[in-house]
């Protein structure tokens, strides 16, 4: 069933039509039979009236009236009087009663009556087709309202069903207009008892979902926060150990301490990224939207990361023009930071990175291109998954990372209703990541080109 309203309209209207029309047909049949009976009685009354008239000297032929015929016969079978439209022989056998006969090119209903006082046979006839048409004309007047009422009934059913379904429509609208992060219970004013279980179940589900999100939020935040302290402590202890060993003249010949330091740094980075990932979750990120120039933010992010990039002898270039968006400054900075760090991480020493901002037909955008190895099209969809790393842990470039950077980018993009696009960079090899923000009132172009 595609629409309850259409189903109810068609099913109810079909039922009403079927029952009403069958009733109308039955009524028509009965009314026609009653009308014929009435006409028969009228015919009999006419014959009896003629029988009582003083027609002793009446002989010959009456003028043709067209729709009625008359014959008077003596008891011995002699013709006494007849209308001009009748044949010379009797219209029917001279026996009392009704008969259907044909003459003069029409079918007639004949009533034969014997009048004892005058000893004559009276035959009065009416054209059947005229009787039938007259009866039908009268009866149709009673059938027609049934037909005319049908469109009115259809309109009323449509309106009444629409009114009856309004609560369902309200519920659908309440659910549709709910934001993804809004887990507050539904508030419908006076839902009908048929909908009450649906509203109650939905609210119970929302409450369970809210509790579940809260548990997850607390766990992620607490776990990440609780891990920070021991990691800082381990870092301090490692530093002290290095100092003591150095004082004792011990040399880290096989690099065990350096590897330990690297591992602790990676763990600290992972915990920080987990915290950021949780904080940027669109479901509970307290965004403060303001007018931002993507070009300006990109410039700040490049300045912040420049030292790390130049340490790898990579070139960085900012191109494009001013692109205004409604955005959260911290989140957009984080997004660009992650994109730039990701590009730098996967681009070999001496490689090139280009950031571009601008406004396309789809909306304001920021785009980061690198000359790294790039990502095969089949893998592009997977890179936004948490902890996913291209090539797995045995990445051929031995790049350190938590696999959370692009998940954070995706969160921030969702927060701004922006779309992510992956493609091939302008270089011989490499990845292009684009973030296209929705068109809004904040967008405008400038002419600044770096």
């Amino acid at each position: 069933m595609r629409s309850i309203r259409v189903f109810l309209l068609v099913a109810l209207l079909s039922t009403i039509t079927l029952i009403n029309f069958l009733a109308a047909l039955h009524g028509y049949r009965e009314s026609m039979a009653a009308a014929q009976e009435l006409f028969d009685r009228q015919l009999a009354a006419t014959a009896q009236l003629v029988g009582k008239l003083p027609l002793e000297r009446a002989r010959g032929e009456l003028a043709d009236r067209g729709d009625i015929a008359l014959q008077i016969w003596a008891e011995d079978g002699r013709s006494l009087l007849r209308s001009a439209n009748t044949p010379e022989e009797p219209l029917a056998r001279l026996e009392a009663g009704y008969r259907e006969v044909n003459f003069g090119g029409y079918r007639w209903r004949v009533y034969t009556y014997f009048s004892p006082p005058v000893g004559r046979w009276i035959q009065v006839a009416e054209r059947s087709d005229l009787r039938y048409r007259l009866a039908e004309k009268v009866v149709l007047e009673s059938v027609l309202p049934t037909l005319i009422a049908l469109p009115v009934a259809a309109l009323l059913i449509w309106l009444v069903v629409g009114r009856g379904l309004s609560s369902l429509r309200d519920l659908a609208e309440a659910l549709r207009s709910k934001r993804a992060e809004d887990l507050e219970p539904l508030e419908l004013t006076g839902p009908p008892e048929e909908l009450l279980p649906v509203v109650q179940s939905t609210n119970a589900l929302l409450a369970r979902l809210r509790a579940s999100f809260e548990r997850e939020r607390r766990f992620s935040a607490d776990a990440a926060h609780e891990l920070r302290t021991p990691i800082s402590s381990i870092q301090v202890h490692l530093y002290n150990l290095e100092q003591e060993l150095e004082g004792a003249g011990w040399k880290d010949g096989n690099g065990a301490l350096a590897r330990l330091r690297g591992s602790i740094r990676r763990m600290a980075h992972l915990v920080e990224q987990m915290l950021v990932l949780f904080r940027t979750n669109p479901e509970h990120y307290p965004a403060r939207f303001e007018q931002l120039d993507l070009h300006q933010v990109a410039r700040e992010v490049i300045a912040e990361c420049y030292q790390d990039i130049s340490a790898k002898q990579q070139s960085i270039e900012l191109q494009g023009e001013r692109a205004m968006v409604e955005g959260d400054h911290f989140a957009v900075t984080l997004l660009m930071n992650n994109l730039l760090n990701n590009a730098s991480k996967y681009t070999p020493e001496g490689g090139a990175i280009v950031m571009t901002t601008g406004v396309s037909e789809a909306g304001p955008f920021i785009q980061v291109e690198d000359s790294g190895p790039g990502i095969a099209p089949a893998e592009r969809e997977k890179i936004f998954a948490r902890f996913y790393r291209v090539g797995g842990d045995r990445h051929q470039h031995r790049v350190e990372g938590s696999g959370l950077g692009l998940s954070i980018v995706e969160h921030i993009a969702q927060l701004h209703r922006a779309s992510l696009e992956l493609g091939e960079s302008r270089f011989a090899s490499g990845l292009k990541v684009g973030v296209v923000f929705p068109k809004g009132h904040g967008e405008s172009q400038g002419g600044v080109r770096d």
């Binding site: 099913a11 039509t17 079927l18 069958l22 047909l25 049949r29």
Partner: protein, 273 residues
């Protein structure tokens, strides 16, 4: 005039409405887009008017029996298409929509032909009364009553089929298609008897007193089962052969589809080597 009109219009509308409701319900069950219905109704209505205007010339063909032979041929063609549709429906039901390729187009052609067949009769009947102004109100009222009853039965029948549990819908729909098709082949036989292409014989029985053909119930059974109050031996034979042929072909199609379905399941479940 009204009663005669109701019977004639009901007979024609009911047959087309039942066919459309069965095919539309199956279309919904197999998740096929129902656009074919509107196309076939428009094409069928236009074709009905065209054929209706040409029936005078058609009836002059083949020594004056052109109309009977034309109508009988159309009925037999529709029966064949219905058989084909039933086989494709069975295959689609068991093996997925992909195995019933061309089904919507086939349904559209069948319904369009059925509307041409029934619609041309209605056009011929109504066009005879357009010039008789005094009879027109009765004829128009009868047309509306007959069409209203026919379409209502069709709509309720459609929802009845959709309301059946899915596992029964195919069986019921194919069974009904077999009966409607057999009814149509019976009508084709009657037309060929009228044209003297088949021998006229004494009726085997007469159930007109129990259930007159001209009653609403008689017309419903006429459209659904091809009810004939006084059938001749050749009509009964053709009817039974049509039903048996339809059911036999459907049974074979079902067996083949089910064995293929089982085969495909086993292939899917087989371990990878």
């Amino acid at each position: 005039m009204l009663l005669n009109t109701v019977i004639i219009i009901l007979r024609e509308v009911l047959e087309a409405a039942l066919l459309i409701s069965i095919l539309l319900a199956m279309s919904r069950l197999l998740r096929l887009t129902p656009h074919w219905v509107s196309v076939s109704v428009i094409v069928g209505a236009a074709g009905a008017v065209f054929v209706g205007t040409q029936l005078g010339d058609i009836s002059q063909l083949l020594d004056g029996v052109g109309q009977e032979v034309f109508d009988a041929s159309l009925q037999l063609l529709i029966c064949t298409l219905m058989l084909w549709i039933a086989v494709l429906l069975t295959r689609s039901f068991y093996l997925g929509a992909g195995s019933g390729r061309g089904l919507p187009q086939l349904m559209a052609v069948t319904v369009a032909l059925a509307i041409i067949r029934e619609g041309s009769e209605i056009y011929l009947y109504l066009s005879a009364f357009v010039v008789q102004a005094d009879l027109l109100p009765g004829v128009l009222t009868g047309t509306l009553l007959g069409a209203g009853i026919g379409f209502s039965v069709g709509a309720l029948f459609y929802y009845l089929l959709l309301g059946l549990p899915c596992r029964y819908t195919l069986g019921v729909a194919c069974g009904l298609l077999a009966l409607v098709a057999a009814g149509m082949s019976l009508q084709a036989t009657q037309l060929l008897i009228q044209a003297d292409w088949l021998p006229a014989q004494a009726p085997l029985w007469n159930s007109g007193d129990v259930l007159p053909e001209a009653s609403v119930a008689g017309q419903l059974l006429y459209a659904l089962l091809g009810y004939e109050a006084s059938p001749s031996p050749v009509e009964v034979t053709v009817y039974l052969l049509s039903v048996l042929l339809m059911l036999g072909v459907l049974f074979l199609a079902r067996q083949r589809a089910r064995s293929r379905e089982v085969g495909e399941r086993q292939t899917d479940a087989a371990p990878m080597v």
